[in-house]
Every structure is written in structure tokens, then in C-alpha cells.
Amino acid sequence: MICVPLGALFAGSVARLRAAGLDVSPLEDAGRRLVVDAPDGTRYITTRPSDVPTYVQAGAADLGIVGKDVLRESAPDVYELLDLDFGHCRMVYATLAGEDPTPGALAHLGAVRVATKYPAIARRHFAATGRAVDVVKVNGSVEVAPLVGLAHGIVDLTATGRTLVENGLVERETILDASARLIANRVSHKILAGSVDTLIARLEQGLE
């Protein structure tokens, strides 16, 4: 049972699994079905990316494909087995172009206000660099926050940086280089050790 993320990582996930020799045609033709069975007996579950670790941690799926950003944010109790080397993007701290408002905010307000979909990552980054932060959790269109004065800056994921530029933002700090990872449930990783090892070997071959 493999949990595959919908959205940006879906196509890459399917391509990697196909390169590993798995029959993923049912997954491609899934339409609106969220659970599909392949002829080789593998069952695929498709979910929102941030739900993949939840399914895998609970054992509802044995394996899953998920971005490192999600793993870092939710810190699930799962095995991280393989860097699948696709879906590369960076978690960055960005503020409006021009003078960086961060030092001023820290000096005068004591803390910098940061809007993000990734509060845990943002908190940890600023704590690790010895700066106080007020994290504002938003669920989308993070880039708007500095434009309208909701926050001094944002912590967000970017692949090309285009959305940042289009919204007048400048990347100030790189927090994390993310890519898609193969994760496994703690118990499945041991009980299905043989088939997990085989799949990893085939995925690795596909990567070369």
C-alpha cells in the first residue's frame, strides 16, 4: 500500500514508480478515485501532500512519497528511506524588495513577524539563528502578507522564485533544500522488509 501525493509531486511520483518497474497505469487512470489497485497487487492511495505522513505513520499506508518540507514541518514518526531526487524546491525567508525590514523589526519591535504555511519550520529557523519571531499561520497566498502589512516577511516554498519576484519579494535566507522522499511506516518497514528493500533497490536503479 503506497500513499502518493496529489498536486505538484504527483506526476514525478508516478514517473519514479514507473521507472522502478511498477505498473502505475491504474494510478494514472484513477480519475476521481482515491484508492486504486494495480494488477501486481499494490494498492495506491492518493491524498493531499500534507496528509501522506499521517497515513503512513498510522500504518494506513505502508509507504509514502512526500516532500522534505512536509516531513520537516510535521516531524512524523516514520522512516525516511530514500531521496527520490525530484520535486526540488527551496524553503526560503523572503521580504519586500529594497531594504530588509528584519533588522529594524528586531531592534524596535523585539521580534520579526513572519507569515507562513510552515509555522514549525519558521519557528525553528529563527530560533536556530537567535532571533525572536511572531509566526502568523496562513493557509494560502502567503506572498500577499508583506504587501498588505500583515507581516514583515514570509517563509515559503519556491521552485523557481518567480512568484516571489512577481509579488515584489526578495529571497533573504535559504532555510532548506527540499525534494521528494520515500517514507515507510515503522512496522511495515520491518514486517515487509524484503519487498521494501526490493522497491528501494529498483527506485535507486531508476535514479541512476
Binding site: 500504518g59 522512516y79 515503522r186 512496522v187 522488509a193 528493500d197
Partner: protein
């Protein structure tokens, strides 16, 4: 009956995050599991101990570098910091080093109790975890390790978990291999962090960055995915001669498991290290298919007891009762009927008959004779029989098959229903 008003009632008396009540059916099932575990532990000569719910934080903090992690702390009347036990091995280690310090050894103790940890925010984790554990103190070496692993396998299979798998790692072996190929202490610490986070990608990256020859680097990279039987240990002993004694010790343990008849459940898995600052030898995780987390964990921690008094080697394991229950509940399916009679009209309509039934081992519960009340109670609690007064005697209905008998007295009626 159901409606918004009922929900408001529930919300008006909330529980702390992660806390929950145990209702009668689950409670009875848990009690049966505990009874079975107690019997298995006692059969190996493990004697049960109980430790207090509250301990001094300063004492519990001695157990590990950096002190305890998540725990509820409070102050006593004198301003001393107390901790609600977040763990059971540590209090037992304190007990063994203190009150039982003069025991000639080896000391075999068991416990069944709960420990409490504040759940991390945003996680649906339980606040209380009830564990049934064993500790074998004063013996080092394969015989003690094999005894604890075999007892664990015996206890879990006695509960009906016969598709059990037990993974056996060894912190001392992993350390010996890393020392043997020349991995520095600071790099070992980085590897330790990767293992604790279960991050094998990070482990391989650290391995790739080590200044070792290619063979050694590959060996380190693959170490946490080494698994199998005695063959992998023999190969490792040849590849890293410095680790041969540790490989030999683990091989002896595997031989002893064979003799105990438990080897078929056990696989060597050098990726099972848990927290390797705490463990000093074997590390054990037991899995039941269908339960997403280990149902039992354990290992050897020779350094722990010495932190509370005289140093003594120790190996132990704890069964996590909620997870074992989940494994068993997944197997047994729907609940069974309870052998007992609901008596409409109350016990008082025939106290003598009720006493006779009880002394024959049949439960009798009384309820009013308003229409439907007895059936509702039987359905809610799972009682098998419903009896009610009729002209000359009783009618008894068997809820398993809807048969009904009419009889002069209750005992006779039950007998005919059961025949």
C-alpha cells in the same frame, strides 16, 4: 435521545488533550490481557512490583544525559519539584538500586502500570500509557538477553498474536563496527541523531561524507539496513574483525533463542537502535501486523541502575497494552455476549433464585419491569439472557438465538436453554 443537547453535555465536561476514559467492554478486554501477561511473567519467576505515581524530578532526571523529556511536573509542600512518572523502567531502576540493592541477584521483577507524558501539541497521542514490563537485573550476556526476548515472545503469542515479528538490534555491535572502521566519536553522534529521527537518507549522507576508504563507507552506509539471520552477523565479523566479539555474542543469543523455541519470530535488524545513548546492548521491537507502531519495546541498559546506586547490568522489555489490545481487537472482531441474566422486576422478586444463580457462577442483574427496560439494558451491556416474571414462574429469552423458555424457576430455565 441524541441531539444537540447531548453534545453540549459532553463538551461541558471535557478531558485534557490525550486523556480518555475506558468503558466496561474495553476494560474487561484489557483486564484479560493483563491477567494473561501476569501469568506468563510469573511463570518465568518475575515478581511484580509497584512504584509511586510521583517521584522527585531530580532523581528521575539522573536517568539520562540532559534529563527527562516530556513530563508533568509539580511542586510539593516544601517546594521540591515532583514529576508524574513519564516512564516505568526508570522508577524500577531506582527501586532496584535502592530498596532491593541488597538482593543477591539475579533479580527478576515485573510491573503493570501507566506512565504519563504530555502529548506533543497537535498530535493525537495518549496522555497515559499502560505498560506491562519485565526487568532482569544482575545478569549480563546472551543467556539473560535470550530469556527476556523469549519471555516477550511467549507473552505476546500467549495473547494470540501468533504472526508476531520481533526485530533485534544491538547498540554495542553497531558501536563496535563504527569504532572498528574508524568513525570518530563526533560523527557517531551525528549518526545517532539520524537514527533517532529514523532518517536513513541523512545516515547515508553522513556515511558518504566520512573520510574512509570506499568499502568502509559503503559498510557504514548500509549498516542500518543489515538484517537477516546468523549469516549476516558472520559476514560482518569477517568484514570488521574488531566487531567480531560483539557479533559472536549476538550469534550466541540467536542460538539460545533457537533453544527457547522463539527464534522463528526473531529477525536480526541492525537498524533497530532506538535511543542508543540509553541502551548499551540488544535493542528489541515487537510488531503485530495491522498495528502501525511497535507493540512492545525493550533492550539492555547496563548503565542505568548505576545512576541510582550500585551499578548492575539489566535487560528488560515493556508491552504497550493499548497497542496489544488494538492488535487483538482487530483479530477478534465483534464483541461476545456476557454470560448473565437481566431480571426484569429486580432481584427482589426472587432473591433466593438470584443467590443460587450467583453461587453457580451466573451473573444476575436487576432492573425495573417497565416495558423495554430490561431488553435495553441487556442490549447496552451485552448480557445474554433476559428473564421476566409470568403467572407461575419465569420466561427467559436467550439473546444469541432468540429462543425463549417458560419455567417454574430460573435455574431450571437456564439449564434447558443451555442444553
Amino acid at each position: 435521545m441524541t441531539g444537540p443537547s447531548e453534545n453540549e453535555l459532553v463538551d461541558s465536561a471535557p478531558l485534557p488533550d490525550g486523556a480518555r476514559d475506558v468503558l466496561p467492554i474495553e476494560s474487561a478486554e484489557l483486564a484479560a490481557i493483563e491477567a494473561s501477561l501476569r501469568a506468563t511473567f510469573a511463570g518465568f519467576g518475575y515478581r511484580e512490583v509497584r512504584t509511586p505515581l510521583l517521584e522527585f524530578a531530580g532523581v528521575m532526571d539522573r536517568a539520562q544525559e540532559g534529563g527527562l523529556g516530556r513530563a508533568f511536573r509539580l511542586f510539593d509542600d516544601h517546594g521540591q519539584v515532583l514529576v508524574v512518572r513519564p516512564d516505568l523502567t526508570i522508577p524500577v531502576a531506582r527501586l532496584v538500586a535502592g530498596r532491593l540493592g541488597d538482593h543477591p541477584g539475579p533479580l527478576r521483577v515485573s510491573y503493570i502500570a501507566e506512565c504519563l507524558r504530555p502529548p506533543p501539541s497537535g498530535r493525537a497521542e495518549r496522555l497515559e500509557e499502560r505498560q506491562a514490563g519485565i526487568e532482569l537485573v544482575g545478569l549480563s550476556g546472551p543467556a539473560a538477553d535470550a530469556e527476556v526476548v523469549s519471555l516477550l515472545v511467549g507473552a505476546l503469542t500467549a495473547l494470540g498474536i501468533d504472526d508476531l515479528k520481533v526485530a533485534l538490534g544491538d547498540v554495542s555491535l553497531t558501536r563496535a563496527v563504527l569504532d572498528g572502521v574508524g568513525v570518530s566519536e563526533s560523527d557517531q553522534t551525528r549518526l545517532q541523531h539520524a537514527v533517532r529521527a529514523r532518517n536513513l537518507v541523512a545516515w547515508r549522507r553522513i556515511a558518504a561524507s566520512l573520510t574512509l576508504d570506499d568499502d568502509a563507507r559503503r559498510l557504514v552506509a548500509e549498516l542500518p539496513t543489515v538484517r537477516g539471520g546468523s549469516d549476516v552477523l558472520r559476514a560482518l565479523a569477517v568484514a570488521v574483525p574488531a566487531a567480531a566479539p560483539q557479533c559472536e555474542t549476538l550469534l550466541t543469543t540467536l542460538d539460545l533463542l533457537e533453544a527457547h523455541g522463539t527464534a522463528d519470530y526473531v529477525m536480526t535488524d541492525l537498524g533497530v537502535l532506538r535511543d542508543w545513548g540509553y541502551y548499551s546492548g540488544i535493542v528489541v521491537e515487537a510488531y503485530a501486523p495491522g498495528v502501525g507502531r511497535p507493540v512492545a519495546v525493550g533492550g539492555r541498559y547496563d548503565g542505568l541502575i548505576g545512576r541510582f546506586g550500585m551499578a548492575r547490568p539489566a535487560v528488560g522489555a515493556a508491552v504497550l497494552l493499548d497497542r496489544v489490545h488494538e492488535a487483538i481487537a482487530a483479530r477478534n472482531g465483534r464483541a461476545q455476549f456476557i454470560d448473565g441474566v437481566v431480571l426484569a422486576g429486580g432481584i427482589e422478586i426472587d432473591v433466593a433464585a438470584a443467590r443460587a444463580l450467583r453461587s453457580a457462577g451466573v451473573v444476575v442483574v436487576g432492573v425495573s419491569d417497565h416495558p423495554g427496560v430490561a431488553d435495553a439494558l441487556a442490549a447496552a451491556e451485552g448480557w445474554r439472557y433476559v428473564a421476566r416474571r409470568v403467572d407461575a414462574g419465569f420466561t427467559i429469552a436467550d439473546r444469541t438465538d432468540s429462543r425463549t423458555v417458560t419455567c417454574a424457576n430460573l435455574m431450571e430455565g437456564l439449564r434447558s436453554l443451555r442444553s
